[in-house]
Symmetry: C2
Subunit: 326 residues, 2 copies
């Protein structure tokens, strides 16, 4: 029931996922059963499909307070969906709804992972070399060095386990390459990362993120959120500029088609949709967070990512790495 | 003598500025007189020109410690150049050299402006509507609320005085529009800005910066530096992607020319060169900081900006606004 285009895009994404990997995955759609059933029928044109519907009477909206949502709406689709995992009836949970509520409900239902002080939500950003994982992007705005150290372990574990990157390079987001550069938080975090067995490549600057210098970029959630939103806005601004110039007549009309096509290819590389959602890390289970504007493609890709995280038991990998790296 | 392409680009920029506004401005090139003289002759092909050379035997490099540079190199071009202003022989100083050293030398020579706790260096970023002034971008990494309040006053004063924007809109960089969203620093700064007579439009998010929601964006220097570097990297990444796709053959060769041309127009809008340098604000005088890679065009534009700042007596305007706004 979560997301700006729920339940339509969630259902469509689920159907596409089942179509591709129907033998390997089983999808449970959690929400108001009547609504989901009729929507499913509307979309597929049939009463028969391979998707299970699990009823949940309440819906957490963007206006609900995350911290209170699991008490004020105990029968929400989030709550019921996470219960399925808690009771062993599912292996992964995901939602494109209220991010704070996903965090709060997941933490309440699944519990915090042993050895982790604070769960975190990161973001996968496209780079010129592939992707980079920036965390935290808003779960914790005032962080301590040990939180960033834990983010580094969790980020490495995700990139290695789910995205198959061996020995992920971890960069500390700062304002200069030298150890001494940065603020109090980064100076102290640098020491911790240096002492750890994480593949720490040192401070990286804002300009290094999209250049793909590191596979994992750790920062406090305030900085990370600004990085994420600023990066996302680039694509929008390019589209705007594109339109502006085409209206100003810098294009010959014949060329517009080709230009737009190529431009779209470039923009697509920077589009979150192809990357799906991001994991909520540091809880004792698999919980994914989708963009509020998730398209069916984004939902489908999020399902596939969560499948890998569940199959490979990401929480266990993080626990192992906490012992191995710190 | 400062900048990656010094003294060539500085001299060329100065010559271009004199060509355009020779009646109104007088340029002093400060540095090793022999080098400057022969370079000037090499570039202009003549011994005659409208530019004064002021000798300075030492050069501050990127390796010099900013904090020590005004003691260790008392005869540097920065030191001598700032002395000219202090003694009334010039109205504005600028350099594309070591930013920290410009700040330290300017503060040492010109003194801190009355009512300002910490000088700041901002950055003018292009937006879809025009430009926005982000400050601080690295002079102070650990800031207190009152520093951000002062940045707001200084930023407003610059945008109003030099860029002619009436009643500039000031946004506080945060992670959500609500007053409560953000970290400790922004929550406290919000209160101060709300109480002031600054045209405060509230919190703005990372995505709002390039959308041009605010004319002035205030943040701590750590966050601002990351915003600046990330924004700058975007142009580079687009260029890279552009090249990648053209090599992959997505273009018909015939179209490449047109595409590149239009693309360059878009990139130019996001290019720092057209914007020139940025002011060092909060010192008792006019001091500008150029990008290390300043082209002649960037140098020329920096000269023009500093001319306006000097003519309109920017430091006095800031002092007035401190009284008016706070």
């Amino acid at each position: 029931m979560g997301g700006d285009f729920a339940p339509d895009n969630n259902i469509k994404g689920a159907l596409d996922a089942v179509k591709e990997r129907g033998k390997y995955i089983h999808i449970q759609l959690v929400g108001k059963a009547g609504v989901l059933k009729s929507k499913l029928k509307e979309i597929t044109g049939s009463d028969e499909n391979n998707i299970e519907i699990v009823n949940a009477d309440e819906v957490i909206t963007m206006d609900d307070s995350p911290a209170e949502s699991f008490r004020s709406k105990p029968h929400s689709s989030m709550s019921v969906g996470l219960d399925l995992q808690k009771s062993g009836q599912s292996d992964a949970f995901m939602s494109a709804g209220n991010t704070g509520a996903i965090l709060a409900n997941s933490l309440f239902k699944l519990g915090r992972l042993e050895g982790i002080s604070r769960p975190t939500i990161g973001s996968i950003l496209p780079t010129i070399r592939g992707v980079t994982f920036v965390l935290d992007v808003g779960a914790s705005v005032d962080c301590k060095p040990k939180h960033l150290l834990e983010y580094a372990v969790m980020g490495s574990s995700y990139m290695n386990t789910v995205l198959n990157i061996s020995n992920p390079k971890v960069g500390l987001l700062g304002i200069g390459e030298e150890k001494s550069k940065g603020n109090e938080l980064t100076a102290q975090t640098y020491e911790l990362l240096e002492k750890s067995k994480i593949n720490f490549i040192g401070n990286i600057e804002g300009g290094d993120i999209l250049r793909g210098k590191a596979d994992v970029v750790v920062c406090d959630g305030f900085t990370g959120n600004i990085v994420l939103k600023l990066s996302e806005s680039f694509v929008e601004i390019l589209r705007y500029k594109m339109k502006e110039y085409s209206e100003k007549g810098f294009f010959k009309k014949l060329w517009i088609g080709s230009f737009v096509g190529t431009f779209k290819k470039i923009l697509k590389d920077f589009d979150y949709q192809t990357l799906g959602g991001v994991p909520l890390l540091g809880v004792n289970g698999v919980s994914f967070v989708g963009h509020g504007r998730s398209t069916p493609l984004a939902v489908k890709n999020m399902i596939f990512k969560s499948e890998i995280a569940a199959r490979k038991n990401l929480p266990e990998r993080i626990k192992e790495n906490l012992k191995k790296f710190i």
